[in-house]
Symmetry: none
Subunit: 172 residues, 4 copies
């Protein structure tokens, strides 16, 4: 995207800044770390979903993995999938990522009082349609969301959960 | 996305419709076919780009593959990539997909008369920033676009072209 | 759109790339082909709808044909149609195209559990308003969507289906 | 789009209103009429463009006709056209329709002082890219705009003008 390499340039700049601050850093707080979804984990999510789909002979799927910040990490559309699955996989995955809930769990909140649905589904870029699942790490941290579309909604969700299972203990 | 399986239901319905019309179809025109980008080809594009990136020790990348219709087919964001690369990879890939041109070729058109740039870059969802390449098939059909972001722009484009080369003759 | 002819230039470039790779291509996979909606088919859709409309003396219509990828192929607005029909015809046609379902079928999915509508109708560029129909080919492939607006919704849909019938066996 | 027929209902309502006002209307001003682009004229625009394109063996085109109010009237995408032509034909046609100028004339205004381009091309839904032409009636009224994309820009504009010529004196 640029004429220079921002990553390398930035590292040098940060090193200079850090060195200049060394005396002050002796008593500084330890850095605050967060566990972050990796590309390998995202690929394991999709691989687990693909295995489930093949086993159950589902229709062609779209699969979208978001990290917890709501940014797309990985996406794949199987050959022959109808195009609306692209939109549904994205919104399901994003919703689960930023809410740390399955979209079906969010539906339960939305309709807890059926006479007064909350209106979560009217908000931009959020959905309560089944098929988005939250992605936890082995240690229980929330890492992101995985959205699946193309099969009946229960299978979409089951695919997503098969992906999570495979990510936590991949068969390699 | 749904409670029922639209793909299967639709196929049955369409088959019924088609069969009911069979006698009238004797003189029907032959179907119009076009070659379409596959998921395997999209994965080969990304694999070729990743090899190039590893060899040249580039910064972390986002890589977006679109089919010729402008629909997302495959996307991967490498660990550590800055988030703006997501947007750049998408718009570069989409532009190359729908225009059948590299974004750098579109830049040449935009600035052919430097005193009167055309304004292509001001249109929504189009960019002339280097790093999106058109994806041809072995037989020379236009299949889609591949957008890369994260490295200096020349390397983004070289990554994309390495992807195309690998797709046309993958090392497996 | 450009000072040079991208289509022609691209074909030459692609041919050169393809030829230079020929020795390596001996084992390449066969191209993946899909049936694509033609302009003639789109015109037959609209002609069939116009006949139905004239026969039933419907109000002036807007009619929008999308291919399965969700890109507009053909559109016509009859004289005297109110302008909102432009928007309705587009969104109905697009929805049917990308979902491979009639918008009335999508409405059944949306309201399968009337106490918990899914929220499909709140998503951008999708509608469950009757009057968009899926367009199959003679061989049962999904080719796109046809959206009609201007008449009562049942007639909009009937117009769309009359278009499909005419496309599959046009009276010429 | 609705359960009732707005056109018919509206006509009855208007008739009632008009009748109730009859005594007051004796000295009322004559209605203000405007000439409006018809669907037949729009089809003649496209037919003229298609003839020009066939004669000059141009690449596949998208063609968009807008009426003077900036609303789409007619659109056709020829088989094999790259998809970006859909976007360009629309914006060119809309710009010519609402400005009553060819997009190339708007470019002359934009760049009249080359050191200080006005910035028209930065505005949403306007372009100065050649290929959109204004559509006059036989009596010289401004009726709309016709946008063409897919060929080199000079040919796009020539196609549009061939369409206008055919509309004003169609060969039938």
């Amino acid at each position: 995207m640029s004429k220079t390499e921002p990553g390398a340039m930035m590292k040098v700049l940060l090193a200079i800044v850090a060195l200049s601050l060394l005396p002050e850093l002796a008593g500084a707080a330890k850095p605050y770390m967060e566990e972050v979804l990796t590309l390998e984990q995202a690929q394991d999510l999709v691989a687990g979903c693909e295995s489930y789909s093949a086993k159950h002979e589902l229709a062609a799927l779209s699969m979208a993995v978001y990290d917890a910040s709501g940014n797309l990490k990985f996406f794949a559309r199987q050959d022959g999938a109808v195009f609306v699955t692209v939109e549904f996989a994205h919104i399901k995955g994003r919703t689960a990522a930023v809410s740390a809930l399955a979209t079906s769990e969010l539906a339960e909140i939305e309709f807890a009082d059926q006479t007064q649905p909350l209106g979560i589904r009217y908000l931009d870029h959020l959905t309560v349609i089944q098929g988005g699942v939250a992605v936890p790490s082995v240690s229980g941290q929330h890492l992101g969301g995985f959205g699946v579309s193309g099969a009946p909604a229960e299978h979409d969700e089951a695919c997503g959960l098969a992906g999570v299972k495979n990510m936590l203990a991949p068969i390699k």
